[in-house]
Symmetry: C2
C-alpha cells in the first residue's frame, strides 16, 4: 500500500527545494492537493515561466530577463566602479542605500570548496574579463564578512591585483559574522563609503 | 531596482507552500534558478501531473488516481469494518501494522474551528453516507490522541451513534499528545487490537 504514483512523484520533486526533507515534502504535497490547488497551479506556471524567461545578464551576471539587465543598460551609472557581491539580494540591499552609483558583478555564490563551489562556479573568469574592459578603474569587493565571504574577497583581490587593477573592500562596518542581507541601510552605507584599498 | 518580474512572481508563488516565508521563498527561487534548473522543471511538471491526475476516492476519500482507489476496489478487505483516520499518512501507518483488514475513511484533516475547519471541511456528510451503506457494522475512530483529534472523534461518534451505528476508538496505547504518524508499529498494532466501544 502506497500513495498514488503522481503524489509520490510530487513529494520526490518537492525535495529539490533547499531545506525540504521527506516529511516537509509530504506535508507540502498534502497541503497543495487538499487546500490550495490554485496555488499549486500558479506555482507550476511560475516555475515554468521563470525557467523560460530568466537567464543571466551578460555584464553583471545577475538574474535578468534580457541579455543585458536594466541596471547595466541604464546610462546614468558610473562605469569606472565595479562592485562585486555574492548574491542578487546583496545588490538590492546596496541599491537601497542610494550611496553607490557604479556597476555591479554578482558572483551568485561564494568560494566554498567543501560544497564544491570553486572559482569556476562563482564565474571568476567572467569577472576578470569584465574588470579588464579598460573602463573599470576600481573594483569594490562587497562580499559578506563571513569566513567564506572573506576568503572569496581575498582570493578575488589577489587575482585582480595581479592584473594591475585597483581593488577595495567595503569597510568592516558590519559586525563580524554578519551578512549583508540582514544589516540596516545606515551601517551598510557607511561601510560602502569607508571602503579601503587592499594593499 | 527590483528583481526581474518572473523571479518576483516565482518567489510569490513559492509562498503558497506551508511554512515558507518571504526569505525562504527567495532562497528557494535563487537555488532553483542558479543550481537546480532540472529540479525546478521536474517540480513544475510533477505539480501539473498531480493536479491533473489526483482526485479523491469516492469511497474512502483518500487521494487517488482512479474514481475508486486500489485499496477500496480490492476484494479481500472486510467491508463490515470502517476505520476513520485524519490523514493519508495515518492510513499508510496502519497498513504497515498488518493487523487491520477492513476499509478506511480519510477525513483529510481534523475539526479545528479556529482554522476554519468544520464538519464540512472534513467531509462528515460523506462519512455518514458511507457508514450507512448497510454493510458497515463497526466504525473505528483512529484520529490522533491530540486535543483536536479527540474532539473530532467525540463529534463523529455522537453523529454515528445517533444513527444507531456501533462506534469504537483505538486504544489509548499511544502516548497522550502523540501523533499516529510518529509512533512505532507495535504500539499502534496494540492500540488497534484493544479498541473499545464508545458507550
Amino acid at each position: 500500500m502506497k500513495n498514488p504514483p503522481a503524489l509520490e512523484h510530487l513529494v520526490e520533486s518537492l525535495r529539490c527545494l533547499p531545506g525540504v526533507g521527506p516529511k516537509s515534502a509530504l506535508r507540502m504535497a498534502y497541503h497543495l492537493l487538499q487546500r490550495d490547488r490554485a496555488g499549486a497551479a500558479s506555482l507550476a506556471s511560475a516555475l515554468q515561466t521563470a525557467l523560460n524567461q530568466i537567464g543571466h545578464c551578460s555584464l553583471c551576471n545577475n538574474f535578468s530577463e534580457e541579455p543585458v539587465c536594466p541596471l547595466c543598460s541604464k546610462g546614468n551609472r558610473d562605469p569606472s566602479l565595479l562592485c562585486v557581491v555574492e548574491m542578487p539580494t546583496d545588490l538590492l540591499m546596496l541599491e537601497q542605500t542610494h550611496t553607490y552609483h557604479g556597476m555591479y558583478f554578482v558572483l551568485m555564490g561564494r568560494l566554498s570548496p567543501l560544497d564544491g563551489v570553486g572559482p569556476r562556479e562563482i564565474h571568476l573568469d567572467r569577472l576578470l574579463k569584465r574588470a579588464q574592459d579598460g573602463i573599470v578603474e576600481e573594483i569594490i569587493l562587497a562580499t559578506n564578512y563571513t569566513v567564506e565571504g572573506e576568503a572569496t574577497a581575498h582570493y578575488v583581490s589577489e587575482l585582480l591585483k595581479a592584473r594591475g587593477l585597483k581593488v577595495s573592500r567595503i569597510a568592516r562596518g558590519l559586525p563580524m559574522g554578519g551578512e549583508i542581507e540582514h544589516v540596516d541601510s545606515g551601517t551598510l552605507a557607511q561601510a560602502m563609503m569607508e571602503r579601503r584599498a587592499i594593499k
